[in-house]
């Protein structure tokens, strides 16, 4: 089905090329001369006698059109064949026709140049239906099977130089090329074919209208595709309108961005991804491209430049993603590693003091108390709680010197009883407390040895487990008197 459509397309394209190559309207009023000439060869002797001119000479016309018998007419006979992509000479065609049909030489011009039943000298350049009737093309011109194109047409690169790039530019694309499937399936249509015992390394349906350069405009993997290499180069093919390439439908799938690298075989990579993508295009996103990407080509001579990858963030990476990416990153680091290298993680997780915050909004210095109280994010993932918080607080006078009941309580002047009622706040926001207070500040009261013996342990305190894990912690407050339970 698709192959047939390609045949149609190719035939239509060829016809377009042919029509563009000749004068569309017969400049000679054949029918007005129908009673004067009884043989076509009177004027077109070259049609049956090789080496003789196909067109009448001006002097022949002047026998009547001398200004006296008939008015003079300007006439300059064409020399040589019309430049076109037709595989045709009158003599060869006539001989082949005679041989094939096993007929004598009575084949007439009208069999090709007139419609069946037409009056004498009602002629046209060629009657396409007659061509098809003889050549067993039982479809419209552009519906012809791919193998049939080569019957009448030479490959693109074998066209005479008279078929200029400008003329090629006027060729119209067959409608089949607009098919949604054409972009992804035209490779199958170009596959090698055998027609009447003749092998074609690339389908004549493609080779009739295209040369290698045209394929290379898109195909990064052109050197690896035998069908493209089977096409001879011809820069005139670049005169055609550049194809409009769209990303395949698969690329629009929601999970494509995060799953496109999975289960790709080397063959898939080379012949599918590698059609449009260079290894370089992968690097648009992948900071360290996966190992299998190495089979993809690098752009260079004989290859297309490849699809331009519009690097974009996955849907998950919205404005708030920085606050909540830890869950994904810890569960699926391989997915992250598709685009990121650890050095990028370090850029935030090991903050650079020389720059304003990347992760935090501007003037976070003024806004950070609420975040540190609520621990919207885990501060200590990026900041050493003592090295970072205590250092800055100390330099700005927000630091305890151990006189909690004395001077330091004045800092918490928003709550008059904070000094004696700070327990709930301390258990909820202990990380905040540590940003200004050292352990000895608390041990002034919360120690059973040298302190005021206020018990700091909350509900369900795992005393025994902690004692086994690290009794040194217990010793700090209990000295040698660590309770046994």
């Amino acid at each position: 089905m698709i192959r047939a459509r390609l045949g149609i397309v190719a035939a239509f394209l060829a016809a377009g090329a042919l029509l563009a190559a000749v004068v569309a309207v017969d400049p000679f009023p054949h029918e007005d001369h129908s009673k004067l000439f009884v043989r076509c060869q009177t004027c077109h002797v070259g049609a049956t006698e090789p080496g003789k001119p196909l067109w009448p000479q001006a002097v022949d016309c002047a026998q009547c059109h001398d200004g006296t018998i008939e008015k003079e007419v300007p006439w300059e006979p064409r020399t040589g064949p019309l430049p076109s992509n037709l595989r045709f000479t009158h003599d060869a065609h006539r001989r082949a026709f005679v041989q094939e049909q096993k007929r004598d030489t009575t084949v007439t011009c009208s069999e090709c140049h007139s419609a069946p039943g037409a009056k004498w000298m009602t002629v046209q350049r060629e009657a396409m239906d007659n061509c098809f009737a003889c050549h067993e093309v039982r479809t419209a011109h552009f519906d012809a099977p791919p193998g049939k194109c080569a019957t009448c047409h030479v490959p693109f690169a074998e066209m005479p130089s008279g078929v200029t790039a400008e003329r090629v530019a006027t060729w119209k694309a067959p409608t089949s090329h607009e098919s949604p499937d054409f972009q992804t399936e035209h490779g199958d249509l170009a596959a090698p074919i055998v027609v009447n015992g003749t092998s074609y390394e690339v389908s004549p349906a493609c080779a009739t209208c295209h040369a290698r350069e045209y394929c290379v405009t898109c195909h990064v993997n052109a050197p690896e595709v035998p069908e493209i290499q089977a096409l001879r180069p011809d820069p005139r093919s670049l005169a055609m309108k550049e194809p409009k390439i769209k990303a395949p439908a698969s690329h629009e799938a929601p999970a494509f961005l995060t799953t496109h690298g999975r289960k790709l075989s080397k063959k898939d990579l080379t012949l599918k991804c590698g059609t449009c993508h260079t290894a370089t295009s992968c690097e648009a996103c992948h900071q360290v491209p996966p190992q299998q990407v190495r089979v993809l080509a690098v752009a260079g001579p004989g290859r297309g430049t490849g699809a331009t990858v519009d690097r974009k963030r996955p849907a998950s990476h919205g404005k708030d993603f920085t606050d909540g990416h830890a869950t994904l990153a810890s569960g699926a680091p391989q997915t992250c590693a598709g685009c990121h290298v650890q050095e990028q993680c370090l850029q935030c997780h090991r903050p650079n003091a020389g720059s304003q915050g990347r992760f935090h909004p501007a003037d976070y210095i003024a806004r950070h108390p609420v975040a540190s109280y609520s621990r919207e994010t885990s501060c200590s993932d990026c900041h050493n709680p003592t090295q970072f918080c205590q250092t800055c607080h100390a330099q700005n006078g927000i630091v305890s010197d151990g006189r909690f009941i004395g001077g330091q309580a004045a800092y918490h002047d928003g709550n008059p009883t904070f000094a004696v009622g700070h327990g709930p706040a301390a258990r909820q926001g202990l990380e905040s407390c540590v940003s200004c207070h050292a352990e000895k500040d608390c041990m002034v009261c919360h120690a059973s040895f040298g302190g005021r013996r206020f018990n700091p342990h909350g509900p369900n305190f795992p005393a025994e487990k902690l004692r086994k894990a690290n009794p040194q912690m217990c010793t700090a407050c209990h000295a040698n008197g660590i309770p046994s339970n």
């Binding site: 998950s316 708030d320 810890s330 800055c392 352990e439």
Partner: protein
């Protein structure tokens, strides 16, 4: 203070020797140099006191000094208050080198380096810039089809965060089966630091610190398939001086994609040392071309190493629910919204003299407009309330790309930040502009200027206005032996409307 740690120096020397003694020089390398600096100032507080005889009741009923400061009198003879402190100027300059080299004479062998040199002007070194030389990563890696070995200073990324250590790491993996197993062991670095937990830089208040760097070891087993990616990890830290545990965690995390548009992600930490569940989260993500929705649960439990006494104070976790939505209403209009509500578990410490709100909420909404090809307009609003503070405000930005390699971003915002435990209601407005120019594929430069107007509102003499202009600039140069010498993040990403996370 500009001194490399002994171990860092050793690693550097090892890398240098490894490179120098290979039969052939590195045949491939990729790296970058990055220089950044900024000028920023802060103004904090300064403790002061007055004799109790000098204070008197104010109109609101509290006690005030004769100079107008609200005071706290908890001592018999003196009352205390915090007056506005002096201006503190910071001017850090950071030079970062990132380098990866391969082709060192053995196929699969590569060397990696990430380090920073910090210099400081101004009054103090900015937090995090001491020591001056910081080696974040410096390791050699040997990669084979089914295993990988990595030796040197490195960072292991997992659900437990970024664990830095000097040591070795080995991974076995089967691409066909989608399985991997990793083991690692070494001398640990302090959390989010390039130095050990025993370094004075990680204990500026001079409190308890271990005598030696801890021993870090862990094992991770992972499954990588299309519908399921999962990890199970065990990680332990040991105090080498006492041989006691510093932490001992078992974690699990997974991302499951049961249907094309759905993803389920979640994880959980279990504290083996204390015998309780730590942080956990679970989230459903749904995506269609114009809509992206998430809904989930989150539990947050702070992690304190056991060499400190903080675990004895029984910090409590919070449990919350959260959701977000991104909706592309029109091709050029994207809306977003986000909400979170959480509640702390019972502290067991409420008394008549002290209680705290146990809940917190966050609301945020915004819109991005890209109706003009080279312009991006964005506006957002958020309200974030916790038990000790709140923030409410909005911000807006205009991104403009007049020519392809040049990106400008103008922005401004307003924010109100009341505190609960300190008498302080802070209003801040700011406006600024960022300029980024990718001069070539290898070189990017940028600068930022922002003016900040801050009003520290209080009903006493401690109220002050605090205005300043902050300036920063950077230059990055990327280089390589092949064709991959491009900057790490192409400017195309920065121009994207949703990339504010990169821009800010």
């Amino acid at each position: 203070m500009t001194r490399p740690t002994g171990c860092a120096t050793g690693v550097l020397v090892s890398l240098a020797l490894a490179t120098a003694t290979t039969p052939a020089a590195a045949q491939g390398f990729r790296g970058s140099f990055d220089l950044r600096g900024q000028s920023v100032a802060t103004r904090g507080w300064q403790l002061d006191s007055v004799p109790r005889s000098d204070v008197q009741p104010g109109t609101g009923g509290g006690l005030y000094s004769s100079t107008g400061y609200a005071v706290t009198c908890s001592s018999a003879s003196y009352c205390y208050y915090y007056a506005p402190g002096p201006r503190v100027q910071y001017e850090p300059l950071v030079f970062t080198t990132d380098l990866t080299a391969w082709g060192l004479g053995t196929s699969g062998l590569s060397a990696h380096l990430n380090m920073r040199m910090n210099a400081n002007g101004g009054d103090y070194p900015l937090a995090g810039t001491v020591p001056a030389f910081q080696l974040w990563e410096g390791y050699a890696r040997y990669q084979h089809d089914w295993f990988m070995v990595q030796v040197g200073r490195q960072t292991f990324t997992s659900r437990l965060g970024f664990a830095g250590f000097d040591g070795g790491r080995a991974t076995l993996h089967s691409t066909k089966l989608g399985l991997e197993a990793t083991g690692y062991v070494g001398l640990g670095l302090a959390r989010a630091s390039a130095v050990g937990v025993n370094d004075v830089a990680t204990s500026p208040l001079g409190d308890f610190i271990p005598g030696e760097r801890n021993l870090l070891a862990g094992v991770l087993v992972g499954l990588n398939t299309q519908p399921v990616e999962a990890r199970v990890q065990w990680q332990r830290q040991v105090d080498r001086t006492t041989d006691y545990l510093m932490s001992d965690f078992l974690t699990g995390s997974a991302v499951v994609r049961p249907l094309p548009r759905f993803a389920l992600a979640g994880g959980l930490d279990y504290d083996l040392a204390q015998g309780w569940v730590g942080s956990a989260d679970a989230e459903v993500r749904y995506s269609i071309p114009r809509l992206y929705v998430t809904a989930g649960y989150k539990r947050y439990m702070p992690r304190f190493d056991l060499w400190s006494i903080w675990p004895a104070f029984s910090p409590v976790p919070w449990n919350g629910v959260q959701g977000s939505v991104q909706f592309t209403l029109l091709r050029w209009l994207r809306l977003r919204g986000r909400v979170q509500w959480y509640e702390f578990e019972d502290t067991g410490a409420e008394t008549a003299l002290g209680s705290a709100s146990s809940t917190g909420t966050l609301w945020a909404a915004g819109a991005t407009v890209t109706v003009l090809p080279r312009w991006t307009f964005d506006a957002g609003w958020m309200y974030d309330k916790s038990f000790g503070a709140a923030t409410a405000g909005g911000d807006a930005s205009i991104g403009w790309t007049p020519i392809n390699p040049l990106v400008l971003r103008f922005y401004g915002a307003y924010s109100n930040r009341p505190l609960v435990y300190r008498y302080d209601d802070d209003y801040v407005t700011w406006a600024g502009v960022d300029v980024t120019l990718r001069a070539t594929q290898q070189v990017a430069v940028g600068a930022s200027v922002v003016y900040i107007n801050q009003n520290q509102n209080r009903p006493d003499a401690s109220a002050f206005d605090w205005n300043q202009t902050r300036v920063s600039a950077f230059v990055t140069y990327a280089f390589s032996a092949g064709g991959a010498d491009r900057l790490a993040v192409p400017d195309a990403v920065k121009r994207m409307p949703s990339s504010v996370g990169y821009e800010r």
